[in-house]
Amino acid sequence: MADGAPRKDLRDTALDSAELDRHLTSIWHTRGGLWAAVSTVDHKIIGRRYIITAFVFLFMGGVLSLLMRLQLSQPEARFIGPDRYNQIFTMHGTNMMFLFAVPVMEAMAVYLVPLMVGTRNIAFPRLNAFSYWMFLAGGILLWVAFAIDTGPDVGWFAYVPLAGPQYGTGKRADIWAQMITFTEISALCVAVELVVTIFKQRAPGMSLDRIPLFVWSMLVTSFLVILAMPAIMIASSSLILDRLVGTHFFNPAEGGDVLLWQHLFWFFGHPEVYIIFLPAVGMASTIVATFTGRPVFGYLAMVMALISTGVLAFGLWVHHMFVAGLPRLGESFFTASSMAIAVPAGLQIFCWLATLWMGRPVFKTPLLFVVGFIITFVVGGMTGVMVASVPFDTQVHDTYFVVAHFHYVLIGGAVFPLLGAIYYWFPKITGRMMSETLGRWVFALIFAGFHLTFFPMHILGLAGMPRRVYTYQPELPWSGLNMMVSLSALVLASGFLLFAIDIFRSARNGPAAGSNPWGAATLEWATASPPRCYNFRRMPVVYSGEPLWTEDELQVASGLRVDRRELLVTAVVAATPQARESSVPHSIWPLWAAVATSIVLIWSIFTPWAVVWGSIPVAVALTGWFWPKGAPEEES
């Protein structure tokens, strides 16, 4: 604040735009240099980091899948041995679920939600910084372990006893379980931030029925995270305890139970699918609205569908255990509930169709991806209905049919909208447009490559090919289709490669975007691209769900202090102003806290005493984090 520190309690009311920008920049700005970079709590910088890191993991996971396809392209191939192959498929699943899919969705929300609700930073910005460091540390732990041949080899759901103390030898399964802890901590932190941001920091006037659908979907997702992830925390902790200090949670000889693991895992694992899928639904809704030039048909129905999907998500976990030998009656209940989730899913599809029907679709790349999403996801939904039926599932469970099913749901249902969302929001994040020509190629390659790769897997599954096999014998009639799948995977991979090229090219040389290149309706487009460090010069006020379509000028509020980071806290339901709350300044302590926590978690793979001694630095770091340092933001 060299250029004249603002006097205490200076308000934005009397300042003109240029002066206000100068004041706000001086207090919200993240300075250059490494120290400032690791201390920042700006949700845009952290969100961007999060997104990039998650995409790096996506590409690494993609390389693993190509390795698997290489090995499976021929029967009894010997490119990769069984031990390494088991690590590769476990890494692929674990990496994609825990280091890519969940984090990337939360990362998009970390970047976008504060902008979409019209506030200046996410709630608990330091927790946000901490969550990123934890995520990064977990990812590094997993990949370093894999690099030195200690990667987990028990599958991404690590069934005991294979992952248990007796059969999961070495530290491989411990690394898997502890990586879970890292990513769960980070996901839970982000979920809390998002819930509070959405509840308490919405622009005045943004009552519940004016919240953008993407924000709604992130709210439901965050609640799913909050309620589902404790299950996996408990499960992975008990697994580590079984392995390290000899507890008997999963030991049938001493009163434990093998299926307890499966219950706990899938009680988390099924909502996990919706944790990945619901944000994508929100992205699709946003893109559909923008590129048809009208609000999504059936706003209330869409919100209700999101919420009911979230609730039903907790009633389905047993359909992953239909062949484990549970009582038939219970299984029948889970068949019914699993089928029932098709209704809200169908409702959403119909609403999008109605929107497309009544609107005027503009076929830009983001919309292409959403159309591809609808085509693909409906197939995934149909196969979902199939595996929801107990008898049907007994034939396809744990086969390539299921592999095809969940790739249709996760790539078709989540990655397609995500790629559309990247094309859609890239101009906002970087201030530059991505290439429309390349975008069409990317879409074509990925869409065609995807279906050529994964559709044949349905047939392979029905033809009896179990999943997670590192090879198969030549006399089995699978080699032709497997070769086709492997070749198609190259097409899919080339699509992703082209996408990466487009990203790099556009980030450097893309044409300038302007603040609202698509003519979209939501608040993030009301500010500059990329947004300034303080997001909005003055806090926006909204009077409808599509503020940028209904008003010619941005309605704003004034009266906030400019000598400290101030934003607005509003009421949960009606979003009426409640307080001018201050947002915390940059701090290095979240990084130290993450380092200390990482040390405890990794150390405790080796000895339980790590928890005792390692907690001391964690306590010190947290105290340093919360102890006031005399900044104006720390006073009321």
Binding site: I148, D149, N251
Partner: protein, 178 residues
């Protein structure tokens, strides 16, 4: 440092050991009294995998069950045969001695296993037996089995936990002197 640590806890698993190497593993030189001796060079060249590698140790643990060791040695605390946990190693705690005991048998009831196990299996088993009795648990030591709990598992250094029980189950005929 983390890299080094992780590299040390788990080497790539080798399932097939070259016959030339297994033949070398057979070349142990024992002192005339049968206690202690020099392990084969190849053991060092490989990085003592039968003592440090978690896969070999857990295979050893399976062999312990499969070859009925527990019928005389119990869960390691001995029965008809001596205990591995009480600090008394009748022929010393070195791998060579344990390998020799398993391979060639010992007086007072320990049978020779050379015609029942391959030499590689004997090394795996010996590594495991040595681990049961270790006073400081190896990082690569196996955890508990999915079975009845009779003593703390090897990765918790049962010898250190239950040493107070003293020498148990030693056949009086066997005595401390071989």
């Amino acid at each position: 440092m983390v890299l080094a640590l992780l590299g040390w806890i788990d080497q790539p698993r080798k399932f097939r050991v070259d016959p030339a190497i297994t033949a070398e593993l057979d070349q142990i030189r024992l002192m005339p009294n049968g206690i202690g001796g020099a392990p084969p060079e190849i053991d060092f060249a490989l990085g003592q995998p039968y003592e440090n590698d978690s896969y070999n140790l857990s295979q050893g643990k399976r062999l312990y069950t499969w070859f009925g060791c527990s019928s005389c040695h119990g869960d390691g605390r001995g029965a008809a045969g001596p205990s591995f946990l009480d600090g008394w190693w009748l022929y010393g705690p070195e791998m060579v001695s344990i390998v020799a005991s398993i391979r060639d048998g010992r007086p007072h009831g320990m049978p020779a296993f050379q015609n029942r196990m391959t030499i590689e299996q004997i090394w795996q088993l010996a590594g495991y037996v040595q681990t049961i009795g270790a006073y400081r648990a190896k990082v690569s030591a196996p955890s508990r089995n999915d079975a009845k709990h009779t003593r703390p598992s090897e990765n918790r250094a049962p010898a250190a936990i239950i040493f107070d029980e003293g020498p148990v189950g030693v056949d009086p005929e066997q005595g401390p002197n071989p």
